[in-house]
């Protein structure tokens, strides 16, 4: 009797795990593009209008003009509302459009805009923006949009930002294994750290 019981328990475990594996097997582990879900934001912020190419009606604003913390801190942060208003209070042409009106409503109520996180890593991963921006933008002189785009995709073509890369560990590592020059002029190469504790502290 009890042998049977044991066997059945084991079988249940086996089936359960096989089932789970099957479900997961549909999603490949590493892909270049892995479009995340659409995220609804309180204000549909048009990244394309702000950062996009001039030819396509964009203002070509540097990412770091608004995401000013990325080069100085482990988090990129969301710009303070004050920053939006700083420009928009003198841009009369769009002052009465619905999104800008909403923006000013938040400002007048002195309330923060409740943005949703689009790129949200699990809490056991510590991703450092500063290190990446310092390396690629400041040491290697890469264009800002290219550097940010390694992880965030082609944001300048999006309206509301959407995750474009898998942000899984395998995906991070695939990049960290590639050699790249130390800085803009050097022929010496290096690659990103592959120690566990770099990200899992």
């Amino acid at each position: 009797m009890y042998c049977f019981l044991r066997l059945s328990v084991l079988l249940v475990g086996l089936i359960a795990s096989a089932g789970s594996y099957a479900v997961n097997a549909v999603q490949p582990l590493t892909t270049a593009d892995d479009l995340g879900p659409k995220v609804e934001q309180p204000i549909e912020f048009p990244h394309d209008r702000h950062a996009g190419d001039a030819a396509k009606g964009g203002m070509q604003i540097n990412c770091m003009y608004c995401h000013t913390y990325a080069r100085r801190s482990i988090v990129a942060g969301i710009p303070p509302l004050q920053k939006c208003i700083g420009c928009h209070q003198s841009i009369e042409s769009v002052r009465e459009t619905p999104r800008i009106k909403k923006l000013f409503e938040y400002w007048e109520a002195k309330k923060a805009v409740p943005w949703k996180k689009v790129h949200d890593l699990p809490d056991f991963v510590r991703f450092n923006h500063e290190r990446h921006i310092q390396r690629f933008v400041f040491a290697q002189n890469k264009p800002v949009q290219e550097a940010c785009g390694y992880c965030h995709g082609d944001v300048k073509t999006m309206t509301v930002a959407r995750r474009q890369k898998p942000l899984s560990m395998g995906w991070c590592v695939s990049c960290h294994q590639k050699d790249h020059p130390v800085d803009a002029t050097s022929t010496k190469t290096t690659h990103g750290p592959n120690d566990c504790w770099q990200c899992h502290k």
Partner: protein, 736 residues
């Protein structure tokens, strides 16, 4: 049958499969959560504020009365950790564990969040408008002399506002109460030196003899004294100071001493006079009248009375004679008796004879603004209030910064007398024992979200005004700062004078800015002055000079003979003031409950400290639950057998045994305040904290004490760190 046969190995196998399932699901991207959490940005912010990087703001610690300067690390608008403010001359950038727990007072889940009005047994939430209106109505409905205000020690602008409010009401009844304040010593110092709280220069002394002053743990300004102590131990000239601690129960300071002398409780004064006599005999010049007064205190007699051996008295006298200046400190152990004043005076006399006055006992700076100078509390204030309540003289009572229902001995019947007061307003952070008795409870901002200024009683250098500023936004919209409440109350009484101030912040700013000349900002514009003051956290003041005198005299100084034994209550109870819990006001901060007592390593409970000889006599071993009964009541707690205590003494720490307050304090340990006997110091009328006699009986149960001490610390696994040596083998003269 199933449980038995399904053994651990099978379980692990199944778990292995299950584990694989979990692991496989983890391989996908399921843990990247898009669009689930909010990321809140600032509306407006300063350039130097960067998300994830801490910014430090200076403020003042409110965990005890020492008033150390602190700086709080603030990240994303939340205060995370406190450090000491290097600009404060009290603590020079250092802090103590009690201060560290300040963040737990702030984030405490048991804080009261809105004003509560009594409705039968319950508190009903009401608006501030209604609460303040009710106070106006109640104080308006009684005679001014029937309004009383009970507070802990106060200073700074809150004190000034409080005084103005009482003046506006016409009531002179401000009772300033501190349960464990060194109030008898203050009175003795006033007589001896003309100053209640002289500056003690531990760093200048070559020998310190401390009569039970736990200056490294819980006494007056422990962080400051600890720093001085470090310089005393490692002086610039390389000479290491010698610390001798004389007390009946070992304190943290006692544990650090070169020589710890267990003295019979209450005989500290006799030893002090005996030392004067020995010094005179050894050739120290002692004024004639003093020499005459102490001539009967021969080493033999003193040794018999105090239990300190002849040999040790001789060595101590030799040490004091050889090394000058020295410093003799009268701590709470010396002053806790009915003759506490005499003990403290005898100790002051010893200082004077040794020529320490003016050298290691210095005059402090006078405070230039008397209306903001500290008003330290004492125990007599509560007795006076209690008497008035008993005689129905109090109709409206305010209580702020005190928890008298918890700290008053049962014999005072304070709780009963409180019931006679028709309207009781309690300003509180928690529903503590006093708040539970109130008719109206007003919730206060935490010290990390409130504005205030403080002038501590003990100031190390010059005079200083410490600024307490909010380190973050309020956690709960329904709390208010004490300054704001007083301002609102003053607006009811003196609208013309106060209506211009929108809140306490604007009052404080304008009060300071309009006095900037006296606050060292004569050449600065208003904004610069104010911003500098806030960024430093302290404003240095030019103190007024104060004279110290050597008035201690032997005239009229009678130190009574040691206690006669009381066969019904054979043991003395020492209510210990621990570095973490003090009088129990911070007991609801779990870090403090969790940090082990430095000597016994016990956590989360009370204990009865007992000498092994006493324990053997009573047939008690560690962990036995005993009943400690005094004439005024009884408590039950676990016994900890410990050699650092006089055999005639047992000790129970204060601060435990709350019946209310919050989840981390309620029901933890027993309240030793309750069983203190109503014995008072003869000169000051202060409750004599160490006068309680008790008997100890086994209650039958035995528990395993929860403590950190164990094989590793207990027997050191043969590593011979700080090897134990019996005290008779230590030769003090060799150590010096």
């Amino acid at each position: 049958m199933i449980e038995n046969s399904f053994n651990r190995r099978d379980f692990l196998k199944v778990l292995g499969w299950g584990g694989a399932t979990v692991a496989l699901s983890g391989c996908g991207n399921t843990s990247v959560e898009d669009g689930k959490e909010f990321v809140t940005s600032y509306v407006q912010t300063a350039d130097y504020i960067i998300p994830s990087i801490g910014t430090y703001f200076n403020s003042t610690c409110a965990q005890c009365d020492a008033g150390c300067g602190i700086m709080g690390r603030v990240r994303e608008g939340r205060v995370l950790k406190l450090e000491g403010n290097p600009k404060s001359s009290i603590n020079n950038g250092k802090m103590c564990g009690l201060g560290q727990a300040g963040v737990q007072a702030h984030y405490n889940p048991d804080r009261i969040r809105e004003p509560l009005l009594r409705n039968g047994d319950k508190g009903e939430a009401i608006t501030w408008e209604k609460a303040l209106g009710l106070i106006n109505e109640k104080v308006g409905g009684v005679k001014a002399e029937n309004v009383a205000f009970l507070t802990g020690g106060v200073s700074g602008h809150v004190k000034a506002l409080l005084k103005n409010y009482l003046d506006a009401l016409g009531s002179g009844h401000h009772y300033v109460y501190e349960a464990v304040a060194p109030s008898i010593m203050r009175a003795a110092n006033k007589k001896a030196y003309g100053i209640e709280m002289p500056r003690l220069r531990l760093d200048k002394a070559k020998v310190i003899v401390s009569f039970g002053a736990d200056f490294l743990g819980a006494w007056i300004s422990p962080v400051h004294f600890s720093q001085q102590y470090a310089r005393f131990r490692k002086a610039d000239n390389g000479e290491r100071g010698v610390l001798v601690q004389v007390e009946s129960k070992m304190t943290l300071t006692g544990a650090n001493a070169d020589r710890w002398l267990a003295i019979r409780p209450g005989t500290e004064g006799i030893l002090a006079l005996g030392l004067i006599n020995s010094l005179a005999a050894a050739g120290l010049s002692v004024p004639g009248d003093v020499a005459a007064a102490v001539k009967d205190y021969t080493a033999d007699r003193v040794s018999k009375d105090t239990g300190v051996s002849n040999e040790h008295i001789g060595k101590l006298a030799a040490l004091l004679k050889e090394r000058s200046p020295s410093l003799i400190i009268a701590g709470s152990a010396a002053e806790g008796y009915a003759h506490g004043s005499q003990n403290a005076t005898a100790i002051a006399l010893l200082n004077q004879v040794l020529g320490n006055v003016g050298k290691t006992v210095e005059a402090p700076s006078g405070v230039p603004f008397p209306q903001m100078a500290p008003t330290p509390g004492n125990r007599f204030a509560l007795q006076a209030l209690n008497d008035n309540m008993a005689q129905d003289k109090v109709k409206v009572l305010f209580s702020y910064g005190a928890n008298p229902v918890f700290t008053a001995p049962a014999s005072m019947k304070l709780k009963e007398n409180l019931k006679k007061v028709p309207f009781k307003v309690v300003f509180a952070h928690y529903m503590d024992e006093t708040a539970v008795e109130a008719d109206l409870v007003l919730p206060l901002d935490s010290a990390l979200e409130d504005w205030a200024t403080a002038m501590p009683e003990y100031i190390a250098e010059g005079a200083q005004l410490s600024i307490q500023q909010p380190l973050m936004e309020k956690l709960y919209p329904g709390t208010l700062g004490m300054g704001d409440i007083l301002l609102a109350l003053l607006k009811q009484r003196r609208p013309d004078e106060y209506k211009g101030y929108e809140d306490f912040y604007s009052y404080l700013r304008s009060a300071m800015v309009s006095n900037k000349g006296a606050l060292g900002g004569a050449n600065e514009d208003d904004d610069t002055f104010w911003d500098t003051a806030l960024s430093r956290g302290v404003v240095k003041l030019v103190g007024t000079p104060v004279n110290i005198s050597s008035n201690a005299s032997a005239k009229g100084l009678v130190v009574p003979a040691p206690f006669v034994e009381d066969s019904a209550y054979p043991l003395h109870l020492i209510p210990a003031v621990s570095a973490s819990l003090r009088d129990g006001r911070n007991a609801n901060e779990p870090w403090l409950q969790e940090s082990p007592d430095p000597l016994t390593t016990i956590v989360w409970d009370s204990w009865v400290e007992m000498h092994p000889k006493t324990a053997a006599k009573l047939g008690i071993v560690e962990g036995d639950i005993v009943e400690v009964a005094s004439k005024s009541g009884a408590i039950k707690a676990q016994v900890y057998v410990f050699t650092g205590i006089h055999p005639d003494v047992i000790s129970v720490p204060l601060g435990y045994g709350h019946e209310a307050m919050g989840r981390y304090a309620k029901g933890i340990g027993v309240n030793a305040f309750k069983i203190l006997d109503p014995v008072f110091d003869k000169e000051t009328g202060e409750l004599a904290m160490h006068e309680t006699r008790v008997k100890v009986t086994k209650a039958g149960q035995r528990v395993i004490i929860v403590k950190d001490e164990g094989p590793a610390g207990g027997n050191q696994m043969g590593r011979k760190i700080a090897v134990r040596m019996s005290s008779s083998k230590v030769n003090l003269s060799e150590e010096v």
